[in-house]
């Protein structure tokens, strides 16, 4: 499949990003002075002796945001082919045929969002 050569730049770009960022890590390692002391390597909490660990459980609200994001992200993924297709379908005279399925789809999700809103799921506190 010779068509794959089309993606060679993609490989090169990935390589470029990795090499460029890696170079910086190497430079820092090679040129920086190394005289660590215990207090230098300690957790920085504005000079106040640190209390407890950062490995604490945190608010479930962040989790809810991530969950909502995931669901809407999947929705957006469906929207992209739809948006691109609209032109093709309009030219074929079938615009409504793709418009209404998406309308129903988004209306359902919109209702879900509305429910979330009314129940206070979108409130931060």
């Amino acid at each position: 499949m010779e068509g794959l050569q089309h993606y060679t730049p993609l490989l090169m770009i990935f390589g470029l990003g990795i090499v460029f960022a890696g170079l910086f890590l190497l430079l820092a390692y090679a040129f920086g002075p190394k005289n660590p002391t215990a207090s230098k390597l300690d957790v920085y909490e504005c000079g106040v002796p640190s209390m407890g660990s950062a490995r604490e459980r945190f608010s479930v609200k962040f989790f809810l945001v991530a969950m909502l994001f995931l669901l809407f992200d999947v929705e957006v993924v469906f929207l992209f082919p739809w948006a691109v297709l609209l032109k093709t379908f309009k030219e074929a005279g079938m615009g409504a045929a793709v418009f209404w399925p998406m309308f129903v789809f988004l209306a359902m999700l919109g209702l879900g969002l509305l429910y979330e809103w009314r129940r206070g799921g979108l409130d931060w506190d």
């Binding site: 479930v60 082919p81 789809f105």
Partner: protein
């Protein structure tokens, strides 16, 4: 080009094994990102551009973000992680379940008789996948919408119940 396939498939396999071998869940999640990237590469070798990008956008960019969030939410420290070694019966059951899944996949793949070498023009493009989605599979698409809405409400119910404690 077969070399590319073997490299990507090998990478996918190694990182998939790494997912289940690491004790630290963050490492597992990161290995899973590598797996997903190599899978996206495999899709690209089949000219399924849209699928490859969606793979990264939703799986690596959304689902795994959620995983890492949960890992951070639980935020197990190293001592807690060492305690967890699953019982023998659990390991056996899980191995059996995994084996069944693998056998099912194997069976499904062996029945596949399509021609992957000579793909039609525009195969895997966003236009073609979209056309199928909005004509032939429009019912499945709407059901996906219902599923997403149910998940939306479910997430709220679960999270809100926790919040009220």
């Amino acid at each position: 080009m077969t070399i590319l396939f073997y490299i990507l498939a090998g990478l996918a396999l190694i990182s998939a094994i790494a997912v289940i071998s690491f004790r630290q869940p963050v490492y597992s999640a990161l290995s899973l990102v590598v797996t997903l990237f190599s899978l996206a590469g495999l899709y690209l070798t089949l000219h399924a551009e849209f699928l490859a990008i969606i793979q990264i956008l939703t799986y690596a960019g959304a689902i795994l973000i959620l995983f890492v969030f949960i890992i951070m939410l639980l935020n197990l420290n190293d001592d807690e992680l060492k305690e967890q070694t699953p019982a023998l019966w659990r390991r056996i059951v899980l191995a059996l379940l995994g084996g069944f899944t693998f056998a099912g996949l194997w069976w499904g793949v062996s029945k596949f008789e399509g021609d992957v070498k000579n793909l039609p023009q525009g195969f895997g493009s966003i236009i073609n996948s979209g056309k199928l989605l909005f004509t032939e599979y429009v019912l499945a698409f709407e059901i996906a919408g219902i599923l997403l809405t149910v998940a939306l409400i479910g997430a709220l119910v679960l999270a809100k119940r926790r919040l009220k404690i």
